[in-house]
């Protein structure tokens, strides 16, 4: 069973899913899951064997011969795609059913399969034209998935913003691939490091893929889109779709030569995205918006790794570059897994309570024990804490940076700041997820909607369990995944092939295992001890206040207040306060929300300026035919000048 056949099966499964999506959800579910499994097996086979699969039939699409190839990098990303795709598919079969969304569910299933199929195609296309086609189609599929709830204007606006941003990216990729084809003379993609004249194209790719990946100043579309999409869609968008941007960067930095400054720029963007992403996240009160901003943060971490890997590659010493790259790639997986887990968790909260507003939730652990504990697991992972997977990848990146420093190489100074920024990011992420878990799941319900809720069924639970298990596995036995990382790195840069394991992953794994075991044992032991000593229940210590209510709990806003205060300069939070005045204050309230600064202070003003220009220009079409003829004459004159001006020879 070669990868080819498996991929064929997968394709057939997904296409069959598209057709069965409207008629029978069951068939769709089966076909899509089968497809996901097939992709998974194919990718694993490739990574295990290490031999790339290459397929060049001679049928032509759009004037170009089809050329599919599955190498280390493709397989690496395909695995993530298959896992998240499968999980999301199963999840949606309970989360977005025909019963509760009769209008949007069937088409949603079709678009979903279209999304998976085309993302897969992007990953295996080795022809620029087909890459571009699949890329744009998956972008459009994602648009229709984001706007599943078209009745809501916010969802429409979010969708359009996404579409517009993606089209900007598309234009840049248009230029990128067209120039590539024009220079290289063919649409065929492949290693062409020797063509040093191609290096400047990197900047086009950076913007094009960067918008999709949600790098900091280009992330404007990301929060609203991820917040308003159905949760399984948010999961795949945040887990996989933005990784397609990373894939593009990895792919083409591997294949094409890059300018000298490329690595530095990528790393710098990474630092900015990481710190500011989490800062913005802290300012959010909307559960899914918050998670969306964390995607920006984690993309930043990935870019830090990738950037330093590029610097290393540019300076010929692959030693710490290897670590940084491995960290970045592993973080691609990790972020995909725990972010999907978190979004699915958020989905089940939304499913149960119907609100994403954190200040109305609280104490959900009673009603949603599974969701709560799995969400907590994901939170621990995304905060980069041992013994889970998030720490492993960040640790690899750290090692890369520290080695770069102790190597006193060219990147040492940059690495110092990157390492400190990474530390900051970790601590901020911890703060942020303490806030989320505490406010949403712990304490007491803040509003009646949070009181009468029900846990999700097994079809929503199972995907979360699978993702959680994956997080734990990578955390406890990272060594198992090293071969995949090595193959992918080798595909990125042949020099990195057969490099010996540069980090003591085995020891780390063992340590994590011991830690996990001890934590569980200690937990049980302490609980037994508590039981043995006897337990009595009473209200929370209220400092003697007579009538404490759940509304008095610390809210998300007040929790993050200290830190958001430090970032006021960029967050620009909007505060509306009526503070208590007199001795017996009548009404007092305080409201704060953090807008999307880049969008509201940079993009929207520019857009409105363009709109004003357009409105002014449109006045010229005022319906008086005399002026129309005058325009005609003007055109004539302009033409004459133009024709004579440049000399007629």
């Amino acid at each position: 069973m070669t990868p080819g056949w498996l991929l064929l099966i997968a394709g057939v499964g997904l296409v069959a899913g598209i057709f069965s999506a409207f008629k029978s959800p069951r068939v769709w579910l089966a076909a899509t899951l089968a497809g996901a499994v097939a992709v998974f097996v194919a990718a694993v086979c490739m990574l295990a064997s290490g031999v790339p699969w290459n397929w060049q039939p001679d049928f032509v699409i759009g004037g170009e011969k089809l050329h599919l190839q599955l190498d280390g990098i493709s397989a690496f990303f395909l695995i993530l795609l298959s896992v998240l795709g499968g999980a999301g598919t199963l999840y949606s079969s309970e989360y977005w059913t025909d019963k509760n969304h009769p209008a949007s569910a069937p088409a949603g299933r079709a678009w979903w399969n279209g999304l998976l199929l085309n993302m897969g195609l992007v990953l295996v296309c080795a022809n620029g034209l087909h890459f571009l086609i699949a890329w744009e189609i998956f972008t459009v599929c994602a648009y229709f998935l984001i706007t599943r709830e078209r009745q809501r204007p916010t969802a429409r606006a979010a969708g359009w913003l996404y579409l517009a941003a993606s089209h900007v990216a598309m234009i840049f990729l248009f230029a990128f691939f067209a120039l590539l084809a024009a220079r290289a003379g063919s649409w065929e993609l492949g290693p062409m490091r020797e063509h040093s004249e191609l290096a400047p194209l990197f900047w086009l790719a950076l913007v094009g893929f960067g918008i999709k990946a949600g790098i900091f100043p280009l992330h404007i579309w990301l929060p609203s889109a991820h917040a308003n999409a159905p949760s399984h869609v948010s999961a795949i968008l945040s887990g996989m779709a933005i990784k397609m941007g990373i894939y593009g960067l990895v792919r083409f930095t591997g294949w094409l030569p890059t300018p000298d400054s490329a690595g530095w720029v990528v790393a710098a963007l990474g630092v900015i995205s990481a710190v500011l992403g989490v800062a913005f996240a802290l300012g959010q009160h909307d559960l899914k918006r918050l998670l969306a901003y964390h995607s920006v943060e984690n993309i930043g971490i990935i870019l830090i790794g990738l950037g330093f890997a590029m610097i290393a590659a540019a300076h010929g010493n692959a030693a710490w570059g290897q670590l940084a790259l491995a960290g970045a790639l592993l973080h691609v997986w990790n972020h995909g897994l725990f972010k999907a887990l978190l979004f699915l968790g958020a989905g089940s909260v939304l499913h149960a309570t119907g609100t994403r507003e954190m200040s109305r939730l609280g104490g959900l652990w009673r009603a949603l024990p599974w969701t709560a504990s799995l969400f907590a697991l994901g939170a621990t992972a995304i905060a980069g804490l041992p013994p889970l997977n998030g720490f492993v990848s960040e640790w690899l990146v750290y090692l890369g940076l520290f080695d770069a420093i102790s190597a006193h190489g060219p990147a040492a100074f940059a690495a110092i700041f990157a390492a400190i920024a990474l530390g900051l990011t970790g601590a901020l992420a911890l703060a942020c997820f303490v806030k989320v878990c505490g406010v949403v799941f712990l304490g007491l319900p803040r509003s009646e909607i949070a009181e009468h809720v029900h846990e999700c069924g097994w079809r929503m639970r199972l995907p979360m369990l699978v993702l959680g298990a994956a997080c734990v596995t990578i955390g406890l036995a990272p060594i198992l995944f090293w071969p995949a990382l090595a193959t992918a790195s080798a595909a990125w840069q042949p020099e990195l092939a057969n490099v010996t394991l540069p980090a003591p992953l085995v020891t780390l794994g063992a340590f994590h295992l011991a830690l996990a075991a001890l934590v569980i044992l200690a937990g049980i032991f302490l609980w037994r001890r508590v039981q043995h000593n006897g337990v009595s229940r009473t209200g929370t210590w209220d400092c003697g206040y007579a009538a404490p209510t759940a509304r008095m709990q610390y809210t998300a806003g007040s929790f993050a207040g200290i830190i958001t205060g430090w970032f006021d300069w960029i967050l620009r939070p909007q505060r509306h306060a009526h503070l208590p005045k007199k001795l017996f204050p009548a009404q007092a309230d305080f409201e704060e929300h953090t807008p999307e600064t880049v969008l509201e202070n940079v993009v929207e003003p520019t857009a409105s300026l363009v709109m004003r220009v357009s409105t002014t220009v449109r006045q010229l079409q005022h319906g008086r035919v005399q002026s129309y003829i005058f325009y005609l004459l003007l055109g004539l004159v302009a033409l004459a000048i133009l024709a004579v001006m440049g000399g007629t020879k």
Binding site: R618, Q619, Q621, H622, G623, R624, V625, Q626, S627, I629, F630, L633
Partner: protein
Amino acid sequence: MSGTMNLLIGLAMGFSLLALASSRLPSVIRAAAFQGMILGTLPLLLEEKFHWLVVAVAIGTITVKGFIIPNLLRRALRAANIDREVEPLIGFVPSLLLGAAAIIGAAALGSELPLRPEHAKTLLVPGSFATVVCGFILLMARTKAISQVCGYLILENGIYLFGLLLINTTPLLVEAGILLDLTVAVFVIGIIVDRIQREFDTLDTRKLTSLRE
């Protein structure tokens, strides 16, 4: 030979200036009509030897430009029981000055462009350019639909004038086709004007601005 011709061409130019200057629609129409008739006679002068097709063309031109179209316009004018003032967007004096400038510019341009010896002495090129520009001015400077139609007519006259340069080389079939086209064009315009008059109960194109951004 070319003396009489130049005289006629000069006359034609005069009529286009008259059209620019005249403040009442009937006189504009008359100017256009006379100009058409004058141009109609030119082929006869241009051809050395007598050729019946040329005669046909000439007669056709005279009848169409001189009688059919003007009558059509007069009918439209009558149907539209409106004041016969021209109501210019650009005043008469400025229009006149523009026209004069156009004639001078056209003469200059005409002298720039190389001509065959047999055309060298004629005013055909400057005359046609000048007339075309005058047509443009009428089209842009007048508000009444009918005066714009006259502008279009004069424009076409100018082109016709230029066409005479080619009359003994281009096949007459083409000439005839062109002539036919122009006729039908103005004819259709006339019909539309008539319809507009009925729909809007006016021929003032300033009222025709419901289609706009």
